[in-house]
Symmetry: C3
Subunit: 139 residues, 3 copies
């Protein structure tokens, strides 16, 4: 049997534009039957803190586009990033990793994170997954 | 016959430093006989709106370097990002894709985009191209 | 004999969060016996100017997190990005490349750069290394 294709993302950013990129790519990959492995680090990791992802906005340089974008998203009934993450969790193809060095740097505890996180791991785990993936991106 | 090497870029940024990275990598790849596939999303997609790429500047944090950089570029007779894009279009190895989910989010229409865009596609098309590429980067 | 695994990074950013990402990934890769090839361009290249990396801070949007992060890093006795770079240089697996087009754009001379830089090269050298690598990321 042929092995599944794999997408591996480092999610370093926590702004809503980058979170959408990550979850749209992951949702598309999973819909195509690929595995999707998302490794959250730095500001991406911070967005996994309970309550944080709902507050994510656009970067300062694009703040003026937040209101028209949000209106379009509501009109389209587009899911929020956290809703996309929760839908993705219904698939066994989707895995979320929290970066342990970042957690130490910012004093983030396991219990601070949303329950959807699969594993707390270091960069070695991510590199091994990435080396075995078809598409790797740093977002 | 050996298949051509392939470069696949997600161009998510619209600032001039990132556009130069994308087009320098693409120009180099094409000069080496590789295919170069550029998928423009979010602020990258916005830079494909007619008249937008000519106005792209440095990110706010680096605005103070814009004037010295522009002077050096003029002295070097360096092409602008849009000039690089137009030169690249003379090669059949170079393709530009506009991200349809971004177009919906921002209410961007096909007729708003520069005529050099090859195709309007979703993330599935990009992932299939990327899985078949030698180098994938998210810019 | 099996060939070594390879990590190839474009380091386009010069903020301390991105530099940590680059050097943590590179240190992890080298510890696993992989080669790590880092190609510094734009703001990444600027951080290779003598004295610059020591001054790198967080991006403006996250400036308020700089003090708590630095306190944690000191408590953990975490190395600075430049200390990580110098430790990595003790390994023959680690190579630093400075992007020559960026040097021209910003009028940066070879003698302006830290002595740890291995080679001054253009994008073609990077693309050839990346095409031969297991993991490529643009940071």
């Amino acid at each position: 049997m042929q092995e599944k294709k794999k997408l591996a993302l480092v999610v370093q950013s926590g702004t809503v534009d980058k979170l959408y990129c990550a979850f749209i790519l992951a949702s598309t990959a999973v819909a195509m039957g690929w595995e999707a492995h998302l490794y959250f680090t730095f500001w991406g990791l911070q967005s996994l803190v309970k309550g944080a992802m709902e507050k994510a906005g656009l970067p300062n340089e694009y703040k003026h586009l937040e209101e028209p974008m949000n209106k379009n998203l509501q009109r389209m009934k587009y899911p929020t990033p956290y809703e996309m993450l929760k839908r993705l969790k219904s698939s066994a193809l989707f895995k979320i990793y929290a970066c342990t060095p970042t957690m130490e740097m910012f004093g983030t505890k396991k219990e601070d994170l949303i329950p959807e996180v699969d594993e707390l791991v270091g960069a070695a785990t991510f590199l091994n997954i990435a080396a075995d993936s078809d598409v790797n991106l740093f977002i």
